[in-house]
Amino acid sequence: MESTPTGAECEAFQDDLAVLAMGGLTGHDRARTLAHLEGCPRCTARLEELSAAVDALTTLIPEATPPEGFAERTVAQFRSERTTARPWARRVVAVAAVVVTLALGAGVGEWVATSQGNAPATAFRAVPLRSAQGTEGSVVLVSTGNRGWLWMTVHDAPNSGTVTCSVLLTDGSRREVGRFSLAGGYGEWTATLPFAVTSVRAVTLLDQAGTRVAVARVT
């Protein structure tokens, strides 16, 4: 079913849509194109088709056998991922394995509370981070006792450099959480939240031009 956008305004964006699907659109062209996509379902559908075409090209690449022992070395790397240097992170990760299991069982999009021994009651919420351009990542909102923080990982963002992380609260206000770096489209950071974690409705990532890169919707 042909779905090439035919509006005069849309025609001007067709070149940039292809470059965007490749992950190579930056700067003003990117900002303009993303702004157009916000209001154009045809071009958004076209972008999805072009992204599928890029995936198809990738599928054509021949397979190759990795060096001997690759799988074992890789799984060993996973195990070392589980031991992290920072004490608070170690506690979070240790509980997270059980929490994620609980969260999956309880259904995506719910607060999960757990407590271990003498540790204060901890509540987690894991939310996917998404954009139409394929930015993916995750946001984990954590509340322990009376402290709250956010743990964000971003991968596949089509840009690098400084990004601003902000949250939308249930009272409608927006708060900037901090500025962080993406390198090669990837980044990972934590930030304390000076307000109740349960009041977060959405977490947004903005690039240096103020354009929205990705959103994680909590409610």
Binding site: V19, E49, A64, P66, E81, G105, A126
Partner: protein, 215 residues
């Protein structure tokens, strides 16, 4: 929640274990090679090493193949492939199989990491290798063994062979070396608009072939 094996409970609760296997819980790991990608990723998100290893073994040739084709260096390709699986491990909890299959997810991560490594090593080839799609895999055959989409993939390959060489070069530069339209224009000594058109037309040709397969 107390259970001796949260992994098993999780898989059963999520309806990811086929019905005929539920009765054989003790033997469930005999069939791990037949578990779906979704089930293996669910296992990884719960920290299960066996599911993780099965997932790596299932997809390592695909991931390493992409990394090697783009970076042309086995040591770098191994690093890229390993990092791809590490990221999959880290983000397994938020992988959504309804949005994309695991292979597409992994391929995208591999491609992005391979492109990053080319830039870091300043190793982007001057001349794009547009035979990237026409080589056989290292077992001497075509990737046709994957079964699905064979017919469509043959037609895409045919479209790549018959499209103008400058469009094919633009596709490789953009999709697999991560070069911007401006960089392509500079390297090929063409106007920026021409570079963008070549990318657009080449990609549209691929998309049209896929569209005809579905229609």
């Amino acid at each position: 929640m107390s259970t001796t094996d949260p992994m098993a409970s999780c898989l059963v609760a999520m309806d990811m274990v086929p019905h005929d296997r539920r009765a054989r819980r003790r033997d469930r790991w005999r069939g791990i090679g037949e578990a779906s990608d979704e089930a293996l990723v669910a296992g990884m998100s719960a920290g299960d090493d066996r599911a993780a290893e099965a997932f790596v073994r299932r997809h390592e040739r695909r991931v390493f193949g992409i990394a090697l084709a783009i970076t042309s260096d086995r040591a770098t390709a191994e690093d890229v492939a390993q990092e791809t699986f590490v990221r999959a491990w880290r983000h397994a909890a938020v992988f959504d199989p309804r949005r994309a299959p695991a292979t597409a997810w992994l391929s995208t991560i591999t491609r992005n990491l391979a492109i990053d490594s080319l830039r870091l090593r300043r190793a982007i080839p001057i001349e794009p290798d547009d035979a990237i799609w026409f080589r056989a895999d290292d077992e001497g055959g075509r990737p046709e063994a994957r079964g699905e989409h064979t017919h469509a993939m043959d037609r895409v390959r045919a479209a790549l062979r018959t499209m103008p060489a400058d469009q094919r070069r633009a596709l490789v530069r953009s999709a697999f070396y991560g070069q911007s339209a401006a960089e392509i224009a500079d390297l090929e000594d063409i106007p920026l608009g021409t570079a963008k058109s070549r990318i657009r037309l080449g990609l549209a040709r691929v998309r049209d072939i896929l569209d005809r397969e579905e229609g």
